[in-house]
């Protein structure tokens, strides 16, 4: 009962934060510098890890697909499997998981420490809403950066699959036939579909991490707890939302 209550309370708090931030949307042009900084943090600095992870997801997908499909002589379809799985599911999902781990935790830590060290209070007395200068630029940045991360993740993942297809002897199909299958079965709308998912995930992750950070109470010890909570809640939300968003977008 207590847990349920805290969940409902959390949802309420997040929704409130969303509306408060959205109400300041008009101030975004004046917060351009902050927006760019958040774009840098969310997009640019996250790129290397996204690229590395996507590459290996692509290779593993191709490897597993090669193993499974060899059984009924459908190795030519490895490209389509890797292409579709990357674009529709694994690209958006894993990028969002990384975002939760890398950006979400940083956001939660930063806002939690600002709360603990009274910086948020100082903002309040200055009549500068945290939702406006701390949350809004991050939400806008994640919306802009997520598609970029996703398209890079997709392409790197596809490329990873082709490397395995070419150089691993148990798979052994030519990159030409790999990409031909990929192109034939992966449509641009699948990529768009994945981006839509990623936008939802990224937005929710950032929003939830901001909310958890801003609601930290107590001393410095709570900063760590807030980060843990933010990441756990983000990961759960990504997977739960994944089902529903996929269902809706179908």
């Amino acid at each position: 009962m207590k847990q349920l209550n805290s969940i409902v309370e959390g949802v309420g708090s997040v929704v409130q934060l969303l509306f408060r931030s959205a109400s300041y949307a008009g101030s975004l042009p004046r917060q351009w510098a902050r927006f760019i900084e958040q774009c840098y943090q969310i997009g640019y600095t996250t790129l290397p890890i996204v690229a590395i992870l996507s590459f290996f997801i692509g290779t593993v997908l191709a490897l597993e697909a090669g193993y499974a499909m060899e059984g009924f002589g459908a190795k030519e379809f490895i490209g389509s499997l890797v292409g579709l799985s990357m674009a529709r599911e694994l690209g958006p999902m894993m990028t969002s998981v990384l975002l939760a781990g890398r950006v979400g935790s940083a956001i939660a830590a930063e806002l939690a420490s600002m709360k603990v060290y009274q910086e948020i209070d100082a903002l309040t007395t200055m009549n500068i809403p945290a939702a406006k200068i701390l949350v809004l630029p991050r939400l806008a940045a994640v919306l802009v950066m997520m598609p970029v991360l996703i398209v890079i993740a997709n392409i790197v993942g596809w490329f990873g699959g082709s490397v395995v297809a070419r150089y691993v002897s148990t798979v052994g199909i030519s990159p030409e036939s790999y990409f031909a299958a990929l192109r034939h079965y992966t449509k641009f709308k699948d990529v768009i579909n994945g981006m839509e998912k990623a936008e939802v995930f990224g937005f929710v992750v950032v929003l939830v991490c901001c909310d958890i950070g801003l609601n930290t109470k107590g001393g410095p010890r709570e900063i760590g707890a807030a980060v843990t909570r933010a990441v756990v809640v983000s990961l759960i939300l990504i997977l739960v939302l994944d089902y529903f968003v996929t269902k809706i977008l179908m």
Partner: protein, 277 residues
């Protein structure tokens, strides 16, 4: 009601632009505050009239900072009310109308921003003037507190005393009508403490800024305050002019205001003797 009337005749002038605004009054009415059953503030009532310097003194942990947070609207009292010019300070509408600045005990500077940006944040966000006039204001405020050399440093590179001064400078840039200080002179050397006292007095005399100062600094209380309230154990035990207060015979206050260092008969020995063995 008389505070309201007084507020209309007393004006604050913006220390930098000279623009005038009404000085504000603060009314603390039967405020109680408890954290998970523990009473921190017990039925505190007082009024701060516009343009006065009100000093709150008391031992550490007596609830002064909590009271300050209630006044500035960061927390809400468990019972009782706090009003600034008759309005609830925790509402955003009140903050839109009345500029209230709080100098936090440990500065509460924005660690991700340089000192300059810490000060410039408020005028930038509230669009008071272009970047040139903001720069002028910021550098002026930093100069007053002689921390202009630290303008492009980050808070993490500053000493505790410098942080405090930057924090006061940040409050000045806000051009407040009501200024609250939480231990403004702690961690400062005597000269800087004196400077802070002078700044508070100047703001009061020339610009009629209402100030509430939580401090342990006897000199500050004695020289510049209009009235002093002393809180002990969450209760406001006395309220009066500094002259009255320092002339009191109340043994609790005498020991608090003029503690004697008695090496032969130390306090901690007395405390030990009261402990059950």
């Amino acid at each position: 009601m008389d505070t309201q009337m007084e507020s209309s005749c007393s004006k604050t002038r913006n220390p930098f632009t000279g623009a005038e605004a009404n000085a504000v009054s603060v009314k603390v009415d039967h405020v109680c505050k408890s954290f998970s059953g523990v009473e921190v503030l017990k039925d505190i009532s007082f009024e701060v009239i516009p343009g006065e310097i009100f000093v709150l003194m008391g031992p550490s942990g007596s609830g002064k900072s909590v009271l300050l947070r209630d006044i500035v609207g960061l927390d809400v009292p468990t019972s009782g009310t706090v009003t600034i010019d008759g309005q609830d300070p925790s509402l955003e509408a009140t903050r839109d109308r009345v500029r209230v600045a709080l100098v936090f005990q440990d500065g509460a500077l924005f660690n991700s921003l340089s000192v300059y940006d810490n000060l410039a944040l408020y005028p930038r966000e509230h669009r008071s003037g272009d970047e040139d006039s903001i720069s002028q204001k910021v550098m002026h405020a930093l100069k007053i507190l002689s921390v202009e050399d630290a303008a492009y440093k980050f808070p993490s590179e500053l000493s505790g005393g410098m942080k405090k001064r930057v924090s006061i400078a940040r409050a000045l840039v806000m051009e407040p009508q009501l200024l609250l200080y939480d231990e403004p002179t702690s961690e400062l050397d005597p000269v800087m403490s004196a400077t802070i006292s002078e700044i508070i007095a100047t703001l009061k005399n020339e610009y009629s800024v209402t100030s509430i100062v939580v401090t342990h600094d006897r000199a500050l209380a004695q020289t510049i305050s209009n009235r002093v309230g002393i809180i002990m154990g969450g209760e406001l035990i006395t309220l009066g002019t500094p002259a009255e207060l320092f002339a009191t015979k109340d043994p609790r206050l005498v020991d608090f205001l003029n503690p004697k260092i008695d090496i032969k008969n130390p306090r901690f020995k007395k405390l030990e003797s009261t402990k059950p063995s």
